[in-house]
Amino acid sequence: MLYIKERPGENIVVRAARVLDPTEGIDATLDVRIDGGMIAAIGESLDRNEHRVVDGAGLVLTPAFVDPHVHLRTPGREDEETIATGTAAAAAGGFCAILAMPNTDPVVDSAATLGALVETAARQAEVAVGFLAAITRGQKGEELTEMAELADSGAVAFSDDGVPVASAGMMRRALQYASITGRKLALHCEERSLSSDGQVHEGTVAAELGFHGYPSVAESVMVERDLALAGYEGQPVHLLHLSSADSVAALRRARAASIEATAEVTPHHLVLTDEAVRTLDANMKMNPPLRSAEDRTALIEALQDGTIECIATDHAPHALHEKDVPFEAAPFGVTGLETAFAVVHTHLVRGGVLPLATVIERMTAGPARVFGLDRPRVAVGATANLALLDLEREWTVETFKSRSRNSWLLGETLVGQVAMTIAGGAVAFER
C-alpha cells in the first residue's frame, strides 16, 4: 500500500542518542546499528563494523513520523507540489511515510489515475507514500467509486476530503460497500448549509472583523451524523482534522458506545486560535478554521488522553500568487510537513502541555494504527524508519523543500529540529 523509490539499505551506527520509542517502552541512551537498512542491534557501545557513524550525542532518536493527511497536488497542480517535492518536504520534517489525499485534478477516483501515481511514487518518492482514493466519483457525492478495484490497485483508504459527503444516504452506501475492501473511510465533516460561505470561526473575531461565520456546529453535526451511520453499519471511520470541542465530545460518546472511530488533529488547531485571524494573514486561513481557546483546549486534552489518536498536518500547498490576495479571496490551506514536529515541540512540549513521548506516539504508532500501516519502531529486525531530533536547536522558518511556502510559521523561530530522517532503510534527509 506504500510506495517509495528503491535505494540500497544503508549501514549506519547511531551513537549514544537518547533512544525514545514509547510504544516499545524504550527511553535510554543507546547505540542503534543498521545493517543493510534493517535495525540489527540496539545496545551500549556497539561495534562500528565499518558502518557510517552518526554521532547522536545530545540528540533524540525516535521512530520516524507518519502523516496521515497530505495534499501532494499531483496530478493537476504540479506547480504547487509534486510527489518528489512533497516527499522531500516530508523527509525534512522527520516523516518516513505519508498518505496523500485524492482531491487532485483529476480526482483519484479510478484505477488508472491511481496507477499512474503509484508508478511515479515508486520512482520518485523520498519517503513512503500511500494514496487515498475518492469515496464518490469526482468527489461529487453522487456515485460511488469502484472501491474494490481501487483497493486492489493500492488505495490505503477512501476520502472525499476537501468536500463532505453531503447526502446521508450516500454515506451509508459508502460505509456498506467499503466494508468489502477492508479499507476505512476518512471523513471531512462539514455541513455546508451551516458553513455556507463562512471563512472564519463564528465568534467574536468573525463578528468584529465582518467575516461570515463558519460555526463549530457545522462540523459537529456532521460528525454526529457520520458516527451514527458508522455505528448503525458497524463500520470504522476516521474523522479528518477535527477542530471543535463539540466534535470531540461526540467522538468520546461514540467511542464509549464501542463505535470504531478514530480522529486526527492538525498542529495549527493545537497551537492557534481564531485570534490569529486578526492579522488578516492569508496563511491563517484553513478549513476547518482556527477556533476558540475552548476548542483548542478540548483538542489538546483529547490528543493527550488518546481520544484523538494522531497528529496530521493537512499539508496543503498553494501557489504564492493565489495566497497573495486579500484574506477573503485566498484559498483555504497551509503547508505543514516541515514544521509539524518543531511547532508542536516548541509550543506544547516545551510549554509543558504535552509530554514528548505522547507527541511521538501520536505522530508514529497512532497514525499507523489508524490506517493499518506497519508501525515505524526502534526494534531489532524492523526496517530502519528513524528520526534523529535536535530538541535544543533554535531555527527560523524561512526556506522549504516543498514547492510552496504558504506556511503560517513563516519567519517564526521554533525550537527543535529534525537532524536526520531514515526512511525505508536509507537516509532520506540530513541537515
Binding site: 468584529e208 492557534l272 488578516l280 492569508a282 481557546a293 497573495d324 486579500p326 477573503e328 513563516l410 519567519g411
Partner: protein, 328 residues
C-alpha cells in the same frame, strides 16, 4: 489543565514604524480621533469662505481606487482631495484592467509606480487595504473593505453627532438593522467606544452577529432609550437568495422599520445612505428635521479632508495600519 499561552498574540502587529494609514478604527487612539475631529472642524470653518480651495496638499497625488459602486464616498473623497489642491486620479473597476482579470496586487503595483501619496481604496474583500499598504509606498485610506471596516464613515458620523448633539461622552446610540453585513456598524461600534458613546444593536436575530461584545436585542422598542437612532441600510445586494435572514422585506419593514410612531420627539436619526425608503426608514422620518442624513454627507467632505491631511502631514501619534504579514 495547564494554562496555554495563546501563541502569536504578542507577535503582530509588529512594532516597526509604519506609514500612516487609515485602515481601521481599531488602529486609532482616542487622541487620534479627537485630533481628526478638530482638524475637520478647522476645515469646515475654512469652507465658509468664498474661495473654498486650500493649498495644503498642492502637488500631492491622491488615487481613488473603487472596486465597488459608490456615489457619495467616491465623490466625497475626490472633492476632499480637490479642496486641498491635491491632484486626483479616480479608477473604478468597470472599464479598467480589473475587468481583464488583473489581481489587486498587480493593479496596486501599477498605480504605485506613479508614486501616489495616498491610495483610497474600496474593495469587496476584507484585507484589501492591508494588501495595498504592503505592496505600495502610499498612505492607504480604507473607503470600505467587505463587511469589515468603513472608518471614514464612522469618523464623519461621530463628527456629525458632536456638531448636532453637542457632546459625545455618555450618549446612547441604537444601531438598527442589518448589522451582520454592515462595515459601517463595525467601524461605528469601535469609534463610539473610543469616545464614550454607549451602543445598542437592534435587529432581526440572524442579522445580529454572534459574539459581538455590545448589548444586542431583537426588540425595536429598545430604540426609545437612545439619544440617536442610527439606521442601517437593508443591504439587499448582500442577501443571498434563499438565505432567509428575514422572511421578507415587508415583514422587516413592519417589525424593524423606523417610523415616526417608534421615535420620541426630538430623537435624532442617522443613516449612512443610500436609503431604502419604506424599508428600514419611513419616508416621513427620512424627511423630518431630526434626520441628519444631509448633515452626514456634508460632514463627510470635511472629515475626509482631515483624514487626507492627517495621514500625509502626521502628528505625534500615528494612524497606524493593522500590519499585514510580510510575505516574502
Amino acid at each position: 489543565m495547564t494554562t496555554i499561552r495563546l501563541v502569536r498574540d504578542d507577535l503582530r502587529p509588529p512594532d516597526k514604524p509604519l506609514r500612516r494609514h487609515c485602515i481601521s478604527i481599531a488602529d486609532l487612539t482616542r487622541d487620534d480621533l479627537q485630533r481628526l475631529l478638530g482638524t475637520a472642524r478647522t476645515f469646515e470653518t475654512a469652507l465658509d469662505r468664498e474661495v473654498k480651495k486650500l493649498p495644503t496638499l498642492k502637488g500631492r497625488l491622491v488615487v481613488n481606487l473603487f472596486y465597488e459602486s459608490s456615489t457619495r464616498t467616491s465623490s466625497s473623497f475626490e472633492l476632499a482631495a480637490k479642496r486641498l489642491s491635491a491632484d486626483t486620479l479616480t479608477l473604478k473597476s468597470a472599464g479598467s484592467s480589473v475587468d481583464k482579470g488583473e489581481s489587486l496586487k498587480d493593479t496596486a503595483l501599477t498605480l504605485g509606480a506613479y508614486d501616489p501619496d495616498v491610495i483610497v481604496i474600496r474593495h469587496p474583500q476584507i484585507g484589501a487595504p492591508q494588501l495595498v499598504a504592503r505592496v505600495t509606498e502610499a498612505h492607504v485610506v480604507n473607503a470600505g473593505d467587505g463587511k469589515n471596516q468603513h472608518p471614514t464613515q464612522a469618523l464623519l458620523d461621530v463628527y456629525t453627532i458632536q456638531q448636532q448633539v453637542g457632546r459625545l461622552d455618555g450618549l446612547h446610540v441604537a444601531i438598527v438593522g442589518d448589522v451582520l453585513h454592515s462595515r459601517v456598524a463595525r467601524s461605528l461600534i469601535q469609534a463610539f467606544e473610543l469616545v464614550g458613546i454607549h451602543t445598542t444593536l437592534v435587529g432581526p436575530p440572524a442579522l445580529l452577529p454572534r459574539g459581538m461584545k455590545v448589548p444586542m436585542t431583537t426588540d425595536v422598542d429598545a430604540i426609545r432609550d437612545a439619544d440617536v437612532v442610527y439606521v442601517l441600510r437593508m443591504q439587499q445586494e448582500r442577501m443571498q437568495a434563499g438565505a432567509n435572514y428575514v422572511p421578507s422585506l415587508r415583514e422587516y419593514a413592519a417589525r424593524w422599520g423606523i417610523t415616526p410612531e417608534r421615535l420620541r420627539p426630538g430623537q435624532k436619526v442617522m443613516h449612512p445612505g443610500p436609503m431604502n425608503r419604506g424599508v428600514e426608514i419611513d419616508p416621513r422620518v427620512a424627511d423630518s428635521v431630526d434626520a441628519l442624513v444631509e448633515t452626514q454627507v456634508r460632514s463627510g467632505l470635511v472629515v475626509r479632508m482631515a483624514v487626507l491631511y492627517d495621514v500625509l502631514t502626521g502628528g505625534p501619534v500615528g494612524v497606524r495600519a493593522l500590519a499585514a504579514a510580510e510575505v516574502a
